[in-house]
């Protein structure tokens, strides 16, 4: 074993240029794999993130339309107690209303949040452009679209007209920009207590919103199912983002499959390349193998020489590929920019994906080395000794 390994090392070192070219060949294959894989994963992450990053991934509502949740604190406690990967949980009271300012009006959705709990999901602190989150009853926060439309400033007042035609005057405490036009133009954010007061509702909410750990995002349906079993309440409806975004999901799946296909074909071409180069090395070294066999090296040891070569080439090729692949991804994020200077696709380094790609490359090289290893084990020393 040791001898085979050191002979393999000598063989590789005796033709440094050829060795470097093979390693580069493997490296480029692996780097393409890592680059494409990381790119697609980064793309999918940003897609998923922009779709569900700042929204509820699992939502509990009453099963009947327009019903509200009464004992929502106990319900929230029960939901978290499951030990699932629910990381954020926040109650919300949503009601439609008309917003009126300076004679003009539009429909909005008044969302009453518990500021601290909602922060986990909506990250208000990051998106508030001016002022602050409402503190007292009768304070609201509006999106930048509404601000611009009505020329509003902090401390201005607006009127909210409820469905039952009551008018409530509110003070503007702040503005937010969620970077999503639909939200900026339709949300009117306030506290739960304030919303309950505006719409004359007791201590009830319309929904409990939840987010799961990012690694569990694609298991949201399973977590929702667990929740359904645990809460076991006919009066509740539990929905998850996957059920509501089937098109996005099938798009992502299609992308993953095509990325996988590319990676598989890149690997196949690497394996074929390595196999043919190693097949040539076994020819180049047949004299040496013949002498070694005449001196008593066993067939198993002879084939181990080429397996060791495959292993070494694979390991160094994979390392080179990882370095080039990360470099490619990094330079892509540095040079492929949106007009505003942000990268088209954010750099995404998934170390376990990179590690698996490297391991697959090593494995592929070992498989490619089997052909020359077999040849070397079959080589009859007399054919070498007889012919000068």
């Amino acid at each position: 074993m040791k001898l085979s390994f050191s002979i393999a090392l000598r063989f590789l070192r005796s033709n440094v240029l050829q060795t470097i070219i093979i390693i580069l060949g493997i490296g480029i294959g692996v780097s393409v794999q890592i680059f494409i894989g990381s790119l697609i994963q980064g793309l999918q992450n940003s897609l998923v993130n922009s779709t569900i990053g700042n929204s509820s991934q699992i939502t509990i509502t009453a099963s009947a339309d327009n019903e509200l949740l009464e004992d929502y604190t106990t319900l929230m406690q029960k939901a978290i107690d499951g030990g699932d990967s629910i990381i954020n949980i926040s109650p919300v009271l949503d009601n439609p209303a008309f917003l009126e300012s300076g004679g003009a009006s539009q429909s909005v959705v008044v969302r009453g949040f518990d500021r601290q709990k909602a922060e986990g999901i909506y990250k208000f602190s990051e998106y508030i452009t001016e002022g602050a989150f409402p503190m007292n009853n009768g304070e609201v926060m509006l999106g930048t679209a509404i601000k611009d439309k009505y020329g509003l400033k902090i401390d201005d007042t607006i009127s909210l007209i409820t469905a039952d035609k009551r008018t409530v005057v509110c003070r503007v405490s702040g503005f937010f920009d969620f970077k999503v036009a639909a939200l900026n133009g339709s949300w009117c954010v306030t506290t739960i207590a304030s919303a309950q007061e505006i719409f004359s509702i007791g201590d009830k909410v319309s929904a409990i919103e939840m987010q799961v750990a990012s690694s569990e995002i694609f298991n949201a349906d399973i977590i929702a199912e667990n929740l359904r079993e645990r809460l076991d309440n006919q009066g509740l409806r539990i929905t998850d983002w996957k059920g509501q975004n089937e098109q996005l999901l099938s798009g992502l799946q299609g992308q993953s499959i095509s990325s996988l296909m590319i990676q598989v074909f890149v690997m196949i071409s690497v394996v074929l390349g390595i196999a043919s180069v190693l097949a040539i090395t076994v020819m180049q070294k047949s004299r040496q193998i013949g002498i070694l066999k005449a001196m008593g090296i066993k067939s198993r040891q002879a084939s181990l020489i080429f397996l060791s070569e495959g292993l070494m080439l694979g390991v160094f090729g994979a390392l080179a590929g990882i370095a080039i692949g990360i470099g490619l991804s990094a330079s892509f994020t540095a040079f492929a920019l949106n007009p505003d200077g942000t990268p088209v696709i954010a750099l995404y380094i998934n170390s376990s994906f990179i590690m698996v790609s490297g391991l697959i490359a090593v494995l592929a090289c070992l498989i490619a080395a089997m052909i020359p290893a077999r040849r070397s084990s079959k080589l009859d020393p007399i054919d070498i000794i007889r012919n000068n």
Binding site: M1, K2, L3, I7, R10, F11, R13, S14, R287, Q288, I291, L292, K293, A294, M295, G296, I297, K298, S299, Q301, P381, I382, I385, R386, N388
Partner: protein
């Protein structure tokens, strides 16, 4: 004395359509510890015979018996072990591995058996290199040596595992008469000290006559077999 190596009715025929009989009913036995020489014209079948004795080549018919065991009954791995431990080869075209230094080449048969080289073994290899007059070039790459130096390195390599039998095919073919003399004295010395059996092909009658026994091959047959008293 017991026979370390016996050949019984050995025939070797090359080719299937156009058949050339290279060895014709050879019967030979070699006593343990004897010093033998084989002579004969070029193309007479000497190397073929030696390769058959060394288990590298297979006879078309006949038996090769080493230490009383017919090699036809041995597995490939067992034959490899015999070639490694019991037989030392010096091939006609020397055959060093160009990727290794002279000393590493000498140590290869030892490493095949044992893996790592001990300090004592290294010293022993250096000593053999000194005995064949190459102490100055032990660390030379084997491609950076003259033909005669490579040949002497191959002799040191054949000796390193203290084999019972040394099979040498024109081991001094590239050497001047002085060096040839030194090498033969060394081989004789090893023969006497360790009781190693030597079977040496040579075209040098002067050298052949120094052996205990001269076998002459002519057209694949034993033409002459003289043992000295």
């Amino acid at each position: 004395m017991n026979n370390i190596l016996e050949l019984k009715n050995i025939n070797k025929i090359y080719g299937s359509t156009i058949k050339t009989q290279v060895l014709n009913n050879i019967n030979l036995s070699f006593e343990s510890g004897s010093f033998n020489s084989i002579i004969g014209q070029s193309g007479s079948g000497k190397s073929t015979l030696l390769n058959i004795m060394g288990t590298l080549d297979k006879p078309s018919s006949g038996e090769v018996i080493i230490n009383g065991i017919n090699i036809a009954r041995m597995t490939k791995n067992r034959l490899s072990e015999i070639r490694n431990k019991s037989i030392g080869f010096v091939f006609q075209f020397h055959y060093l591995l160009p990727e290794f230094t002279a000393l590493e080449n000498v140590l290869l048969p030892y490493r095949i058996e044992n893996g790592a080289v001990t300090k004592e073994m290294r010293e022993k290899a250096v000593e053999y290199m000194r005995l064949v007059g190459l102490e100055k070039v032990i660390n030379n790459n084997s491609t950076k040596m003259s033909g005669g130096q490579q040949q002497r390195t191959a002799i040191a390599r054949a000796l390193i595992n203290n084999p019972q039998i040394i099979l040498a095919d024109e081991p001094t073919g590239n050497l001047d008469s002085n060096s040839t003399e030194t090498i033969y004295n060394l081989l004789r010395d090893i023969n006497e000290r360790y009781g190693t059996t030597f079977i040496i092909i040579t075209h040098d009658r002067h050298i052949a006559e120094k052996a205990d026994r001269i076998i002459e091959i002519t057209d694949g047959k034993i033409n002459l077999d003289i043992k000295k008293q």
